[in-house]
Symmetry: C2
Subunit: 328 residues, 2 copies
């Protein structure tokens, strides 16, 4: 497999290593991605627990609030972490970004709770734990999902100056609304129901809407919180768009190339169920070539920033790609 990768016109791994090395060679041992993510994860986990309202007045609301906490505990908090990373990249602090980071994570989580429902993906496990509707029942999952979505908006309105909050509300609502994430979900559902192969263009539409849109909004909200210029905001938005797509293609490749043990779920499911993915449509090699192109593009988008400051976001792509390519 390694031979195949290095034989590509665009070799993502090599290409990527160059990017990472060029950055880390300037400041050796300056950036530890795992430590960075771990520290942000911890900070967000604490803040987001405090951001949830306590169960109030009546015992029956206890379960609803418990379900909200449970749902949030299942996430890897990536939306929150990139939100903070974007804020720090443009000169803001973790504290500046934190309410926005909690808000995008609540909103992200609400979409996961809805996605997992029996009528949509019918998922029983998320991150190895029972999904919210399996743990709390469908009604509570519906209420908790909606409550987290609404709490995200409330949190933005409560913690930022009016004009900043309104701008953030606009960004995230467009990202998850019927011309954003929900459009992607609707098209994806259509694909699944039709049960037939789809064009690459359709697949790209789904990824850009289901995955990129909220990633973009998370970055943009962090950037707004950090007082970024319009140019910097648009650079981060473009980086998010490319990185969301890249993440999904890497995920497609992993399904085709990794073992069940490595994936933590049954490998080769996409080909087996006839699901259209980048790998099943274009093949693994061509998909890797596209990943290579996207890596170059994402790196270019971050070119407006000082490279050492952009390390968390650069390493984020590294993490995505290495997860799929390592140990092969």
């Amino acid at each position: 497999m390694n031979k195949q990768i290095s034989g590509l016109v665009f070799s993502p791994r090599v290409q990527y290593r160059r990017i990472a090395t060029s950055a880390s060679s300037t400041k050796p041992n300056k950036f530890d991605y795992d430590l960075y993510v771990k520290s942000k994860f911890k900070a967000v986990s604490i803040s987001i627990q405090h951001a949830l309202p306590p169960p109030f007045k009546r015992p029956e609301t206890l379960q609803l609030h418990e379900a909200m906490r449970y749902a949030l505990s299942q996430g890897r908090l990536m939306c929150a972490i990139v939100c903070i990373a974007a804020c720090e990249l443009v000169g803001g602090s973790q504290d500046d970004a934190m309410p926005g980071a909690c808000a995008v994570e609540m909103i992200k989580t609400s979409t996961c709770v809805q996605d997992d429902l029996p009528s949509i993906d019918n998922a029983e496990l998320r991150d190895g734990k029972p999904t919210v509707h399996c743990a709390f029942g469908i009604p509570t999952a519906l209420f908790a999902g909606t409550a987290l979505l609404v709490l995200g908006f409330e949190h933005l309105a409560a913690h930022y100056r009016g004009d900043t909050a309104a701008r953030m509300v606009g960004e995230v609502s467009r990202a998850v609304g019927s011309t954003g994430l929900l459009a992607g979900q609707a098209v994806d559902m259509g694909i699944q129901n039709a049960g037939r192969a789809v064009e690459l263009e359709t697949l790209e539409f789904v990824h850009l809407h289901k995955t990129s849109a909220l990633l973009e909004a998370s970055l943009v909200i962090g950037a707004i919180a950090g007082g970024a210029s319009d140019q910097d905001i648009e650079a981060l938005r473009a980086y998010g768009r490319v990185t969301g797509l890249l993440y999904q293609i890497v995920d497609d490749i992993a399904d085709a190339t990794k073992t069940t043990e490595e994936l933590g779920k049954v490998a080769g499911q996409d080909a087996m169920t006839g699901k259209s993915t980048y790998s099943t449509i274009l093949g693994v090699d061509k998909s890797r070539e596209i990943v290579g192109q996207l890596l170059v593009e994402a790196k270019e988008r971050l070119g407006v920033f000082e490279e050492t400051k952009a390390l968390p976001l650069i390493h984020l792509m590294d993490h995505f790609v290495n997860w799929a390519y390592d140990r092969r």
Copy 2:
């Protein structure tokens, strides 16, 4: 029945008639409630259709947007109408209130779409037409409900100045969140699952959260759009709280006293299914006494405004109460 009503210590009908007459005697034939509601209904209907994004880019999103339009067409637009009425009452215009009115109606509709789902109320009809999930399937209903909720927030952020928008987002998110409407739904669901009689206090909690909270927010958002003082905003909030409760008690009474033909649904269902309502717990007479007290209180809350200007909101209570009491 009429005799019984007039024999009450608090006679809602008589009490109410006095309220209405005292207002209309000053300005005879000055206010036509039906015409007012009809005109506002038409104006909101047009604006809300324009507020929906057109189905875009891919044909699969067509159904999602169609479901959103369909859901909105099932409402009586009462949240939107009271929002405009509140704005006009404090000196603003219909145009000032319209984006807020559309937003609260979208959010209200999203809660109805969710409520009707098989796992919650399992309703097949709303306003005599198939519910959204019956017409479009559960996945599309889930997406459309969420999309309408999100669009409501987007609409506020897009159409008001930043600080005004943020304030409105805060109001409506608190109203529908896990300590507002959703708390009411969670408690209501708990009651239904337990299948036992409940205390009046619990019932009041459900009504104040499931019904009053969003009515309050609709009024407050209209008042904010009209540039109201804090005192006026709080008066309208208190009016909304009382009126929401009043509406639900009147609805409980109607179930016990009106015919199936008059109700448009099977009469006497509450007593038959053992559902706890004001009528089944306190009896019809005592419930009417409470309605009388609430009418007085609601009227008092509007006392800070010029009476002729408050006519739409005064007549709204009239409409609720007369609907339950007329032709008896």
